[in-house]
């Protein structure tokens, strides 16, 4: 189960498992983003390379207008996947306090 939506503070809140079957759902909302935005991953348990592709595609699109994604509350597992993928140099990422 994967859910994505806007939180009370305007952040984009993701929860559950972002696997290849859920990328279309993620992209539907991500394609609406036009300005610098924060993704809250506090309740996101899992991400695969397909989910990384969604993030990268959005970041590249936003960069064309000088905007960017910030990703906060990233769990240890996802943080390690970001590190292996070299995402720390192209995203502003904050780890979750665990």
């Amino acid at each position: 189960m994967f859910e994505i939506g806007y939180g009370d503070d305007g952040d984009i809140v993701c929860s559950g498992r972002l696997d290849a079957a859920q990328c279309e759902k993620a992209l539907l909302l991500m394609n609406e983003i036009a300005d610098t935005s924060t993704l809250d991953f506090a309740s996101l348990e899992y991400i695969s390379s397909a989910g990384l592709g969604v993030l990268l595609k959005t970041q590249k699109r936003l960069a064309e207008s000088g905007a960017a994604l910030k990703i906060i509350n990233v769990n240890n597992h996802i943080h390690d996947v970001f590190r292996y993928s070299g995402f720390h140099s192209i995203f502003d990422i904050e780890a979750k306090e665990e």
Binding site: R17, A21, L56, Y84
Partner: protein, 137 residues
């Protein structure tokens, strides 16, 4: 434990449940479960993606021994695709030089303990192992 899964991304939730049930029953450490799930998804979706004309199910088995899990994914009627061929990704590349895709095999080649590939007369078989009790991913 073994089960056949329909060749579709829609099978991913069932594959997760299948593996999670096994890993929990065998008290596999929580930090080591993540890379097992990740490797299973990446390998399964790779099979779906690169054999669009094949309709047969993909067989998945998972076993445990000596504090280690072994996962086998097997498909039939496909061309050879050796997933152990080293994948190079420039993880220091700037954003404008990055393209979505290509990270899946790179990740599992770095995250599992062993990765093997066998091919014989249209049968493709991928075997990986992962030890329990490791550090995060």
């Amino acid at each position: 434990m073994e089960r056949a899964f329909a060749r579709s991304y829609d099978s991913l939730a069932a594959i997760y449940e299948f593996a999670e049930k096994f890993l929990a029953a065998h008290k596999f450490s929580e930090p080591a479960r993540f890379p097992v799930h990740l490797a299973m998804e990446e390998l399964f979706t790779n099979m779906v993606k690169y054999n669009p004309d094949v309709t047969g199910d993909i067989d998945v088995s998972i076993t445990a021994s000596d504090n280690k899990v072994t996962v086998i994914l097997q498909e039939y009627g496909v061309d050879e695709f050796d997933v152990t061929t080293p994948i190079k990704v420039d993880t220091d590349a700037p954003l404008d030089a990055r393209t979505p895709g290509g990270l899946g095999l790179f990740l599992i080649q770095n995250l599992v303990d062993t990765l093997d590939y066998e091919y014989d007369d249209g049968r493709s078989r991928v075997i990986f192992t992962k030890k329990s009790g490791i550090k995060h991913v």
